[in-house]
């Protein structure tokens, strides 16, 4: 009756029937499976699920209205997180874990007031991921960048970008970008 090492490698005991070819094949196959799994684990660890989407058009934004950005371009996606055709407002979370999320948005020159970038996960473990508000610039477009580390506990979570301005006038939003990458299980 052969025995196994803690990693599952099979070896014959003294009283076992001598069959060297079968026994060394068994051992070699066990090690093969184990080491191959280590190679796969290494590759997976370095291949973090990542999605990047952008909005390249021009979004007219009335004062005081919170608007969810609809992305039009998939820039990177190695885990089916971006679906421009089916769910263009979202980057979906493929598995439970901690995610690094960064986003940026550019507002046109506008009247004096404020503008904001909000990153949300509606109904998620952390609903309001990060938000940044800035004073608008009456002579120069205003860009906002934000980064956050958040926890996603469900694979039905979706990360979205919202924009909002309070100037009393109209503004245009361009160059929106959202990046989501998993950094830990």
């Amino acid at each position: 009756m052969p025995a196994n090492t803690p990693r599952g490698y099979t070896y014959p005991l003294y009283g076992d029937t001598q069959n060297f070819p079968a026994q060394i094949q068994d051992l070699a196959t066990d090690i093969d499976t184990d080491v191959d799994g280590l190679y796969d684990a290494r590759a997976a660890a370095l291949y973090a699920p990542t999605g990047v989407a952008s909005f390249t058009g021009a979004l007219a934004l009335a004062s005081g209205v919170t608007t969810t950005v609809t992305f039009d371009t998939e820039l990177y996606d190695n885990a089916n997180m971006v679906d421009i055709a089916g769910a263009p407002t979202d980057i979906s979370i493929p598995s439970v874990g901690n995610y690094l999320i960064s986003a940026s948005v550019r507002y046109s020159t506008g009247a004096a007031g404020s503008c904001a970038l909000l990153v949300i996960s509606p109904g998620g473990f952390v609903n309001d991921v990060v938000s940044v508000t800035k004073l608008t610039n009456t002579a120069f477009p205003t860009s906002i960048s934000a980064v956050a580390l958040t926890r996603c506990t469900s694979t039905v979570e979706n990360i979205r970008v919202q924009v909002r301005q309070l100037t009393g006038g109209a503004m245009t939003v361009t160059s929106v970008r959202l990046q989501v990458t998993k950094v830990a299980p």
Partner: protein
């Protein structure tokens, strides 16, 4: 003539082989040893680096100027992640999706400044992070720092450069404006496409 395992190609004896147990065990042991040595060489920290520029950059002349903020030193460079070609850019040395985090310091202005934008640019001249400010330090403050982050995909030899760019907007005839220390931290998030 030994057979080989399906994944890692480890040799093992078959019944038709000569009965040479020591040689068969040695062949298997050496194959496993070499394979694990390869695996060990692949296991390392995630490639990451921080480049920094300390030489002030002066924005002058036109009302709007675009200045490359040159990267001059590497504060750390884990796993030989990047190099500095000497033209102010940072060269990415392994394929994947990288997170860039940038910062830039600026002093009080003389009142002729209307906006500063900082962008991180990839090898195809596309901005992948963007932030701006019109809120400037006032003496006795000495400086403020702005930050931005974003992700981009890099392929060595194809699209492998990234740089930090500052756009400075001043009123016509306004005084030159000096931008100070700036950093670009890069972390590889994915390995390959």
């Amino acid at each position: 003539m030994p057979a080989f395992t399906p994944n890692r190609n480890y040799p093992y004896s078959i019944p038709a082989d000569p009965a040479n147990v020591p040689e068969a065990i040695q062949a298997l042991a050496e194959a496993v040893d070499a394979d694990l040595q390869t695996l060990q060489s692949l296991v390392g920290p995630r490639p990451m680096a921080r480049a920094r520029g300390i030489t002030p950059v002066v924005a002058s002349g036109s009302v709007t100027t675009f200045n490359t903020m040159p990267m001059e030193v590497l504060d750390f460079n884990v796993g030989g992640a990047v190099s500095l070609p000497g033209d102010g850019t940072v060269q990415i040395l392994s394929e994947g999706s990288w997170l860039g985090i940038a910062s830039m310091s600026f002093p009080p202005s003389s009142g002729t400044l209307s906006g500063i934008r900082m962008t991180i640019i990839d090898g195809s001249n596309t901005e992948y992070a963007d932030t701006s400010t019109n809120n400037f330090p006032v003496v006795p403050e000495t400086q403020r720092t702005m930050g931005a982050s974003g992700m981009a995909f890099f392929i060595p030899g194809v699209f492998d450069r990234t740089l930090l760019r500052a756009e400075v907007n001043r009123t016509a005839g306004g005084a030159a404006f000096t931008l100070r220390d700036h950093t670009l931290t890069l972390i590889r998030m994915t390995d390959g496409p």
